[in-house]
Amino acid sequence: MGSVMDPLGIFFAITGTKGNKLLFRYPFENTESRKTRGINPYSLIVTEDVQNNRSNSPDSSADSKRSSRSSSLVEDVGAPSGTQRLRSLTDKTLEHIFAYNIKPALYNQKFEVKIDDILFVGHPMQVPANGNRQSWRANSGDKSTADSSQPPLTPTSNAPPSTRDTNSSTNSANVSQSGTSMFHVVFALRAEDITAFIVESYHRLSLKLALAVSHEEERCQYLAVNVKSLNGSAEFAENISANALVKTSPYSMALEKNPLAILLQRVYDDLVRDGTTSVRVNDWVQVNFCLLPRIHRNLDLSEAALTEHVMKMRPYHGLLLLDEQDVTNDLPIDSSSTLVRFIRIVSPLSNFQQLAMEAGVTLKQIFSMAGHLIYWAKARLIFPVCETNVYALSSDASTKVLSDTVDEFARRFSDLSLLEILSDFSMPQPMRDMISPFSENIDTGKLTQIVIWCLRKELLMQLHTFVYLVPQDVQDLHYLQNESLNWLSLPYAIRDTINAIPAAAAITEDGQPSELVFFMKIIPYLRGRTHLEEMMFNLNVKRSQLTTVLDKFREVLVTTVYEDPNIQNFHKTL
């Protein structure tokens, strides 16, 4: 499914002794038959039928299938489509935007330019100085303005010669052939819908890729080799096109053999498909990236909001792995063995405290591993599934009669219908009370499986009981805003009202007003922010004890039931 957060394209441009070049772009069009905007800048952009255009073009290269697939994914979303938008800019123009226009003073910092409804974001990276100092100087020489403000990473010509420099001079002949002073990985994004956080995420990815390429260039001239090969493809394509009627795109040539082009293509395809990517630059430097708003299906998500959510983890919470398959397969090979063990024992039925005991690690470690899984959208924070839980249909749940979810449910639980289950969950009640109305082909175990399945599909939300301390004659509720509410900080009038309740006066055989003492302990939680389960955990009491005392003092209490805002609000789906 296409998303507004997907990139429209990925680009690779360089500045070097031979000028500025857009060496690779993906997706691209196989033919150059498209109409460009021409000389008059006020002319309208010609809207063409992209699909037809493409089907006419010969599927000469092996990658055309792949390129058209990703492009059509982009086109699904709204108009004007991604390719159509990018079409209004020729490769030459893009070359200017990504390389020619970027003065050396703008190297090594965030690049963000918006043209109409396309936003370009990248990080122009100066090529590591040890390899091609000479060429950089040669390049900046013909730019009149540049020399005065040299970027900080440039070594000056009178820098003391180091061992590294002498090393580099031996292979400088090799590098100066490519003569690259700057390279630039750019993403094109849909400008109108995306948030600053998404732009920043793509910038970070561009920077990560640039750093990896830069490192590999320093280590084994990865960039120089690739630039040479990409230049080669461009020339080769030009030669072929000059001789043949059919024009060949240099970019499809590059995809056949150039590792960097294949890498960038993979990054783009991964992002469009999953919103995450994990690649190795030059089979060596690992680059991992996930677009948080995309994988959490929340356009407005920010890292801060996610962190805040993760910080709300409590020992009584549990973890629901979202994928029924084994998550461990997705982990990098060098991942921590504790994490693998943790994933093996995680169950939606047990809370973190139990998991910590079972795994034999501290709760803090469990929290950080759980937070990690939540961050990568592999798991979700839940309250462990148990018989006393009350579930209701989530407001965003799809109740469509004909849908894949219904079919999937029928395959998974052969003798049951999802629609009836949803209907049963429409009336909130504790899980243990739901069994009786069902036919005999369902038991607690099966119901639990169903609940877990529905939670994964976000069809259900859990309701919790919250209690407010609101006596009848109270005129304002400011005391409920007191973060450290307790018996002593309550207004006198309210204390008097509570004391007047019969249960408060009841004295046990050892002369203590035990009910009142217990109630006093509960008071900090009667602000409507703490649910019954958390109270039970914090006070270490049984549910029955709590409900009894709440019932005895019910004339000053307002009891209500709603979802836990700490868990639920985060799952606002697009």
């Binding site: 800048p41 963000e112 407001s395 009336m427």
Partner: protein
């Protein structure tokens, strides 16, 4: 029918959420010096950074980027421009055969600039026209009036969100900053009931013909479809008119009221607890008699007991002692508008639904889980009772609440 209201409409026109303009630049391509900043108001804060040298190629760009919105973010600034190139024409010959300029707004790096983009485009196109017609920019005398105009734009757009600029005697330019979420307005359905949030604010709004007809009919009872029938206008027209009024926070839509409706309390109730003004407003709004006001506990009990499965009717009978003091319709509307409660709709699902059912002539074709009973009633013109009977008599129909 009196116009009853729910609190003050927040004045969206005072654009607090929109980032202010830092400065306004007028940049042009000088015959000898190339791209340069000719004027900057209010001071030279951008000029003095020297950043212009670095990004000049995005402000006075190559021809292919002319007449496009170009925004460049660099250093601590975000520069939004609309570069214009004018070729030689019959009135004017330029020394370099063309005249290039760009009137840019400069913002802080983290500013939201989208609201300003239409303004900048309009400004650029307008300046282009006056240049072609009267050589406004290439004539040194008239160009010198620019800083004054730019200063006025800066103060007015920042202060009021709108501005009118008299370029010369015969040309006046009107500019307005529009908040960005205009396009993605809330969806209005046929079955939604609009309510006025405030009586006073729509007085100032000179609406179009439909709006003027629609506003007097908003009484908190009629739904959009009924209003459109009454004014004899296309429902879509009325919907977009309501959307527009919602954008200016004059109107909100609520579900049609019926005692069989079900609401459910949400964590939004915390807002009620935390806001004494809201509590007082709620008490005043929902009371039937100003001498017999409900207490805070009464309201909390009512809101708190709104759960799935509890209709308004059963809620009132459960709290019969409070019920007499409360106008239940206002209570529900107030709760929905402020987000303490949300309406829970009933979705009839026909379990044997297939492609043939979809073509059926009876109500059953709508029992596919995408329509709730309010919508079905409105579309098929059924009463609540008829539809409920229809749903109950069929064993193959199950009901979901969400």
């Amino acid at each position: 029918m009196p116009h009853w209201q729910y609190g003050k409409a927040s004045d969206r026109c005072a654009h607090d959420a929109i980032s202010p303009i830092g400065s306004i630049l007028y940049s042009e391509f000088h015959n000898q010096f190339g791209p340069m900043i000719t004027y900057e108001v209010p001071d030279k804060r951008f000029t003095n950074t020297g950043l212009f040298e670095q990004i000049a190629s995005y402000i006075i760009p190559k021809p292919e980027l002319m007449a496009r919105q170009v925004t460049i973010t660099s250093g601590n600034f975000r520069v939004v421009g609309y570069p214009i190139q004018i070729e030689n024409n019959e009135r004017k010959k330029y020394e370099r055969n063309s005249f290039m300029f760009n009137l840019c707004f400069v913002f802080n790096i983290d500013a939201e600039v989208r609201p300003y983009e239409p303004v900048i485009k309009k400004l650029g196109d307008y300046l282009r026209t006056v240049e072609v017609e009267t050589a406004f920019l290439s004539n040194e005398a008239s160009k010198a009036t620019l800083p004054v105009l730019m200063t006025k734009m800066l103060t007015d757009l920042n202060g009021l969100g709108r501005c009118s600029v008299e370029i010369n005697l015969s040309n006046t330019l009107f500019l307005k900053v529009v908040p960005p979420d205009r396009g993605a307005g809330p969806v209005v359905h046929d079955y939604d009931v609009p309510v006025l949030l405030s009586d006073s604010s729509h007085g100032g709004l000179v609406g179009d013909l439909t709006t003027r007809q629609v506003v007097p009919l908003i009484d908190g009872v009629k739904n959009v479809h009924q209003i459109s029938e009454e004014v004899d206008a296309d429902p879509d027209l009325v919907k977009s008119c309501i959307q527009n009024l919602m954008f200016y926070a004059i109107v909100r839509v609520v579900p049609a009221f019926n005692t069989a409706n079900v609401h459910r309390v949400t964590p939004g109730l915390q807002q009620f607890v935390c806001d004494p003004l809201l509590q007082q407003e709620c008490i005043r709004t929902v009371a039937r008699d100003s001498n017999d006001l409900p207490s805070l506990r009464d309201l909390m009990m009512l809101f708190g007991d709104m759960q799935i499965g509890v209709t308004v009717k059963s809620l009132l009978s459960r709290h019969s002692n409070i019920a007499s003091k409360i106008d239940e319709r206002k209570l529900c509307d107030f709760g929905v508008i402020h987000g303490f409660i949300r309406r829970v709709y009933k979705y009839p699902l026909y379990t044997r639904y297939n492609q043939a059912t979809a073509k059926s002539a009876t109500a059953i074709r709508m029992f596919n889980g995408t329509f709730h009973t309010d919508e079905i009633q409105q579309k098929l013109d059924l009463t609540v009772k008829d539809l409920d009977e229809r749903i109950e008599q069929d064993q193959l129909i199950c009901v979901c609440w969400k």
